[in-house]
């Protein structure tokens, strides 16, 4: 009787593509980590001992943010893009302009940040934040 010889097979897990997969994942995590840079609008707050400064009315440029998020500059209603153009013109025209942002308490924070962004872009150096009347 002929006894069949057992074939011994060497079981192997194919690991050739592991490095490719790992590098692919590595590149993914690297790129997402680089995108995770946080940004913000920097404000220097007044010091606790500072005496409130008196500002001449002629230097004031008033931006109002209404409760519904609408903007107005010196009483004229504007869009956010229009606000920047109008603000840049006003800030350039008024020497040492101080921008006063008057915000309604119910206004969404988004509207405030948009107004602040436009003020920063307009080149104004000094800023006054004021909460408007009404709850």
């Amino acid at each position: 009787m002929k006894i069949a010889r057992r074939r011994s097979s060497n079981p192997e897990i194919p690991l050739v593509s592991t490095s490719d997969v790992a590098f692919l994942l590595l590149i993914f995590f690297l790129s997402t980590a680089a995108l995770n840079v946080e940004r913000g609008l920097l404000l220097d707050l007044p010091r606790a001992g500072d005496v409130p400064a008196e500002i001449a009315a002629s230097r004031l440029v008033t931006v109002e943010v209404a409760a519904d998020g609408a903007f107005s500059l010196d009483g004229k209603t504007l869009t956010s893009d229009g606000l920047r153009a109008a603000l840049s013109a006003r800030v350039a025209a008024v020497p040492n302009a101080v921008v006063r942002i008057l915000i309604a308490p119910a206004a969404p924070y988004r509207a405030f940040v948009t107004a602040l962004d436009q003020v920063k872009l307009s080149g104004a150096r000094e800023l006054s934040l004021e909460t408007g009347a009404g709850a």
Binding site: T18, F29, G40, V65, P105, P108, R110, T114, T131
Partner: protein, 136 residues
């Protein structure tokens, strides 16, 4: 004359350890990116063009949710205690920057209350966290 046979050398770059190195780097980046994800970070930041980079390691994080819930360095705290917590931090390191992560939908009155507390706690600088918005 006996001609010597040329011995051919097959140049090979050893790549056997490549997978190990890649896996090691992968685990490193995975673990660090997990650390960065914050609990209760359901804050949708407003967009801005003039935003500057925030150096996270030098900043105190104060976040405000859409309903006005306040968190101090990712731990939920009552609004009234933010000032005291900040003052405590400034007593140890006076130059710290406060990063305010407020939701775009939060009413300004809540943000104003937090800003007032920052001012009272003698915060020298505050940065209002935003997402990048391309210039219009």
């Amino acid at each position: 004359m006996k001609i010597r046979r040329r011995v051919r050398i097959h140049p090979v770059i050893p790549t056997a350890s490549m997978a190990d190195i890649a896996m090691l780097l992968l685990i490193f980046f995975m673990s660090t990116s997990i650390i960065q994800s914050r609990e209760g970070a359901a804050v949708r930041l407003p967009g801005a063009t003039a935003g500057q980079r925030i150096r996270g390691e030098e900043a105190i994080r104060v976040s405000i949710g859409p309903e006005g819930r306040v968190a101090f360095n990712d731990a939920s705290v009552p609004l009234a205690s933010v000032g005291a917590l900040l003052a405590e931090k400034f007593a140890r390191r006076p130059g710290l920057v406060v990063a305010l992560y407020a939701d775009a939908r939060t009413p300004y009155s809540v943000v104003a209350a937090v800003l007032d507390q920052m001012k009272a706690a003698r915060a020298p600088r505050v940065t209002l966290a935003t997402t990048r918005r391309s210039g219009s």
